[in-house]
């Protein structure tokens, strides 16, 4: 406690003297030790993620706290952590950045990235001027796990890298009237679901790779009678419901990133969508929170994998995004490509695949917030020059040489009740979509810092010193420039087109002031060119808000004198306020 106080006093003193701030860890390796040591070379289960954040909240109780915004299907808490410096203003008075992870239960490392972001900001707040400024002007809403059930299942039960994407509300995938009755089975109890292959000499589709018999390769179609000796018989599992198929009705069976209301499409158009938008409690809780927090001005959602910085539209049918917003997206996305090696800045439907009802498309199209999804970790990152890729041989090389073979379950025979003698084998669940332990820290750091790039771009409004012109007869003109100093507009083009949220307001208040007219100047040099607002000239409304780095010229015609206040109010920017005295 006293250490905290000391650090604060020290940094305050430094600030006042204008002395250079002492850089710290994380960031620079020879700096002081962090106040909360966290191992950033591993992944944590659902409870441990909360425990890490609780340690941070215990160290910085005035800055980090959580609220439970809802519960998952299995009644796990959805803990939304708020990172804000209340001494500099309430969170709702500031533009806020929303960062979440792990909507897909198996896409786990997003949660670590969220925790890292909080840790980085907290650890650096007293030693880094930009971090301090960011926390003065900005709040962060952090939801490390959108789908804690999916995460818990992925950690606790048998899975592969791709399964447990869903939540755990039962769905009758095979439409036989039974729910989740035929999931994969972890036959050898090692926590990973791997492949099953069967030896069928001369009657198969695959053969063993000559250099590495752990690899199966398809036998090309031919007329020479050459057949393989092996077939794949599916993933590790049984025919639990006796319908002749294995693993066809797994736990859950939906996709909480297809549940959001913008261009939502039903299940037969968009697999995983569920019966109606925001059907699952996790999604609905988040939607309610965001709808109640119009101060959210930036959204980042963490997924895995493939190395992507994604933006909407999710489907071609939505049409193009407004060009003004695309320019801001591009500015951030292209920086992201430089910050995140092997990551590509992409448009979801065009460069990846069509997604109806995705989260970041809703936060932009529905709420007017600039939003990205990052797909964390690309196979190419296994080697800094990208020479190791996703091919089986490359994966084995990496696993053999850099993990001592720990990531691969080597083929072993078992007796299967339906298929007879088969072999089980394959890469473990934490290979392929998550980095190896020694590369976790780099991944979370680069992605957290991409969030800060985004957060620093959130709108900041300044009111320049006004100019008062005497027009004669006791009437004066007040000219003032209101500027957005950042790249993200106070109202995105999407928000202004769709009339999302409240228009911005420019207010002139003075008890001895009669505001005769007011409006926005359209010409820098001709003060008479002005878009007058007929009603309530002291309260000018601006649907368009302030664009990227826009300077808006406001003119009022007033009678009277005395103290006056000019305010600029926007949902997604701190109120700017300027006091003046009219003589």
């Amino acid at each position: 406690m006293s250490a905290t106080l000391q650090a604060m006093l020290l940094s305050l003193a430094l600030l006042q003297e204008g002395a250079p701030l002492r850089p710290g860890f994380p960031g620079l390796p020879a700096g002081r030790a962090p106040r909360v040591e966290i191992a950033w070379n591993r992944l944590y289960d659902a409870e441990q993620i909360h425990a890490l954040l609780d340690r941070l909240a215990a160290e910085w109780p005035e800055l980090l706290s959580y609220q439970v915004i809802g519960h998952s299907v299995e009644n796990r808490e959805l803990r939304l952590y708020t990172l804000n410096d209340p001494a500099t203003g309430g969170e709702r008075e500031k533009p806020a950045m929303w960062v979440d992870g792990n909507v897909h239960g198996n896409e786990v490392q997003g949660a670590e990235a969220v925790v890292y972001l909080a840790w980085y900001l907290l650890e650096n707040r007293d030693s880094n001027e930009r971090v301090r400024a960011l926390l003065e002007g900005t709040a962060f809403y952090l939801l490390p796990m959108v789908n804690p059930d999916g995460r818990a299942h992925w950690f606790q039960r048998g899975h592969d890298a791709h399964s447990s994407r869903t939540g755990v509300q039962p769905v009758d995938d095979d439409r036989d009237g039974l729910f989740d009755e035929d999931p994969p089975d972890d036959l050898d109890g090692d926590g990973s679901i791997v492949m099953m292959r069967k030896h069928v000499p001369g009657e198969g589709t695959h053969r063993l790779n000559a250099d590495d018999p752990r690899l199966l390769e398809p036998v090309p179609p031919n007329d020479r009678g050459i057949r393989g000796d092996w077939i794949y018989v599916g993933e590790e599992g049984l025919d639990n419901d006796g319908d002749g198929r294995i693993n066809e009705d797994d736990v859950g069976g939906y996709d909480m990133n297809r549940s959001w209301p913008s261009l939502w499409q039903p299940e037969h158009v968009q697999g995983g969508a569920g019966p109606y938008p925001l059907y699952w409690p996790e999604t609905r809780a988040i939607a309610r929170f965001l709808l109640e927090h119009p101060n959210v001005a930036a959204v980042q959602s963490f997924h895995n994998a493939g190395g992507m910085i994604l933006r909407g539209p999710g489907a071609e049918a939505f049409g193009e995004y407004p060009a003004a917003d695309v320019r801001v997206y591009d500015e951030l996305g292209k920086d992201g490509e430089k910050m995140l090696p092997f990551y590509r800045y992409m448009i979801i439907w065009k460069d990846l695949y069509s997604v109806f009802g995705g989260f970041v498309t809703w936060t932009y199209e529905g709420l007017g917030i600039l939003s990205f999804t990052n797909e964390l970790w690309a196979d190419e990152q296994a080697s800094p020059d990208g020479r190791l890729a996703s091919r089986g041989a490359d994966r084995h090389f990496f696993d053999d040489r850099l993990l001592m073979g720990a990531g691969f379950v080597d083929w072993k025979p078992i007796e299967h009740p339906l298929f007879g003698p088969v072999e089980l084998g394959g890469f473990r669940k934490d290979v392929g979509r998550v980095p190896p332990s020694f590369l976790v820290e780099e991944m979370v750091h680069r992605n957290a810092l991409f969030c800060l790039r985004h957060a620093e771009a959130m709108p900041r409004v300044a009111i320049r010193p006004p100019e008062v012109t005497d027009l004669g007869g006791g009437v004066r003109a007040i000219d003032v420039v209101v500027a957005n100093e950042r790249a993200i507009p106070t109202r995105t083009a999407m928000a202004r087109e769709k009339k999302i949220g409240q228009p911005d307001r420019v207010l002139l208040e003075g008890s001895d002031l009669a505001v005769l007219a007011g409006g926005f100047r359209t010409d820098r040099f001709r003060p008479e060119r002005i878009e007058l607002q007929e009603k309530e000239p002291a309260r000018l409304l601006r649907e368009a808000g302030l664009g990227p780095r826009e300077e808006l010229r406001v003119r009022w015609i007033v009678r009277g004198s005395g103290p006056a206040v000019i305010r600029y109010q926007a949902e997604k920017a701190r109120e700017a306020r300027l006091e003046l005295e009219l003589p």
């Binding site: 039903p266 109606y276 709808l291 409304l541």
Partner: protein
């Protein structure tokens, strides 16, 4: 103004042997409706269960009745009747309640009622939007459709600051017209009481502005343009939902009433058919089908009823018009309606009737059912013969009101001058609230009775799975061939084309039932059946079984929404 609609005796429905006392059904407030439902359930506990499907935004319970004859084995196919999603259509609640009452009271004596309730469960949600409906019983009386979120309609940075008000103190929110050179309305040439939009293309210059009766509380020279509620339950369903529409809600299912109804349907796979009494109609107006395999556009399937379903719905619509004589085509948007969700996204057979509107023809001197509605509408198609101005639809409605006499005069309020606090000289008048939604007393009773006629026949239209044949044939060496034919005697197919496309309606499960000692040699023990046409559609299955000569073999078929059956396999004679 009649707050009560009297329903005539239902003797005709209850059979000739019992002339029941005249039933009086009123337009009911929420509390009154709750008492009626409670009473009905208490009087007929063996037939009627009363329960709730959720709670409205303002905290009112959303009530429903479940009606079914005693002694059901397994789950019966179900019909769902939903009324009053559009908050102003309070009349539809009364019709739904009349149906429930007629079913409960008629079960003991009426063959058709018994046939329906012994084969089919009937769910009735008489008032899907109680919050908005309650405005019918408040003063001033207003047609209120919205009960949801408040939107800043006029984009002045304030919400709900300029709502309608009863300026002339007559207890009704009517219309306000004001002479204004910026106006967009003119008097209809054929009836100056009616306003029509000026058509600049014809050289018409607007003279009036037209607003709901109200003040200009926010001083923007617009009247009642930003009322405190905007979200409409009947625009809040996922099919065709329009993002950023002022009446659509923040997201589909945002309104608790809409979500409750969605969950209600999802929890009851026995529901095979949905009948909606509301603002939509697919029983009178023509339903144009889209091709069953019409290509998707940018990955999205075209909207609308699939051709093969439209054909069957067309036949039901024909029977509907025959039973009810209704010529009421509904107008209005189809965005985000319950009706569309049920059909397009759940594949349910969905029927929608708008029960009444002011006819575009003057009332007949003698009440005779309209037999040739198409012909009757003819005079209004194309130009008037003698070159007289073509009356607008509202002028025709006014003509009907005039001809209907004093009892119906409340439906139009003559324009009368009034001094408006903000606008100065204005006139207040126009169509009264509910004028186009609530029929005359006698007509209301007839509508309810005729729609009941239609409802009583719906059960027999539903798909049912039956085992028409189940035979066994000994092939020697302990091998037996079992053959079963599943048949659907109902009119409708087991699944609609939409239900097969959306894969939301459950297929029937056909299972060979065989003893432990037997072994299946050929065929799948369990099959899912989704494509079974109506009107005697059949599907045959065969199995080869090895086992003891006297083993018991049989076939079962189970459907969530078309019944279940078991039949022992017998040697064919």
């Amino acid at each position: 103004m009649p707050i009560t609609v009297l329903f005539a005796s239902l003797a005709c429905l209850l059979g000739p042997q019992e002339a029941a006392a005249p039933l009086e059904l009123a337009l009911l407030s929420h509390a009154e409706l709750a008492r009626e439902l409670e009473g009905l359930a208490a009087l007929h506990p063996e037939l009627v269960q009363r329960s709730t499907l959720g709670t409205s935004r303002a905290g009112r319970p959303l009530e429903f009745l479940r009606l079914s004859g005693p002694g059901a084995e397994g789950t019966r196919p179900a019909l769902l009747l939903v009324a009053n999603l559009d908050g102003a259509r309070v009349f539809s609640s009364s019709v739904a309640l009349q149906h429930a009452r007629a079913l409960a009271e008629g079960y003991a004596t009426d063959e058709r009622v018994r046939a329906l309730l012994d084969s089919t469960t009937v769910y009735v949600v008489p008032r899907a939007n109680p919050d908005a409906a309650e405005a019918r019983f408040e003063t001033p009386r207003a047609e209120r459709r919205a009960s949801g979120i408040d939107v800043d309609n006029d984009r002045d940075g304030r919400t709900g600051e300029d709502e309608p008000a009863d300026l002339d103190g007559d207890g009704r929110i009517a219309w306000l017209r004001v002479r204004d050179p910026d106006g967009e309305w003119i008097e209809d040439e054929s009836d100056p009481r009616v306003l029509v939009e000026a058509d600049r293309g014809k050289g018409q210059r607007g003279v009036f502005r037209l607003w709901p009766e109200g003040r200009d509380l926010d001083g923007d020279e617009r009247v009642a343009e930003d009322p405190p509620r905007d979200g409409r339950v009947d625009r809040n369903f996922p099919a065709g939902w329009q993002q950023h529409a002022q009446d659509g809600g923040l997201f589909p299912s945002d309104d608790p009433e809409a979500r409750a109804l969605l969950d209600f349907v999802l929890a009851r796979p026995e529901i095979a058919l949905v009948l909606v009494y509301d603002a939509q109609d697919n029983l009178v107006g023509e339903v144009k089908g889209v091709g069953d395999d019409a290509p998707r556009v940018l990955r999205i399937p075209p909207e609308g009823v699939l051709e093969s379903d439209a054909k069957l719905l067309g036949e039901i619509a024909r029977r509907y018009r025959e039973a009810t004589g209704s010529t009421v085509k509904a107008e209005g948007a189809e965005r985000g309606t319950f009706t569309r969700w049920c059909y397009e996204q759940r594949g349910l057979w969905t029927l929608a009737a708008a029960l009444w509107d002011i006819p575009l023809e003057p009332p007949e001197p003698e009440e005779a059912p309209a037999e040739e509605p198409a012909e009757k509408n003819e005079p209004h198609k194309g130009k008037e013969k003698d070159g007289a101005p073509r009356p607008s639809d509202d002028a025709k409605r006014l003509e009907w009101i005039d001809a209907a006499g004093a009892a119906e005069a409340w439906r139009f309020m003559p324009w009368k001058p009034c001094e408006h606090p903000e606008l100065g000289a204005v006139e207040i008048g126009g169509f009264a609230p509910f004028a186009r939604l609530e029929p005359p007393a006698a007509e209301g009773a007839r509508i309810a009775a005729r729609h009941l006629e239609f409802l009583l026949d719906l059960g027999a239209l539903l798909a049912r799975v039956e085992i028409a044949e189940c035979t066994r044939e000994e092939l020697g060496q302990g091998v037996t061939r079992v053959t079963a034919v599943i048949e659907n005697p109902g009119f409708l197919p087991l699944l609609s084309r939409s239900g097969r496309r959306t894969e939301t309606t459950r297929p029937a499960k056909v299972v060979l039932v065989l003893p432990e000692a037997a072994r299946l040699l050929g065929g799948e023990r369990q099959r899912l059946l989704s494509n079974l046409p109506g009107s005697g559609g059949r599907q045959e299955y065969q199995w080869l079984v090895h086992g003891p000569a006297q083993m018991e073999l049989g076939v079962s078929v189970e459907s969530a929404h078309a019944g279940s059956a078991f039949r022992k396999a017998e040697v064919q004679r």
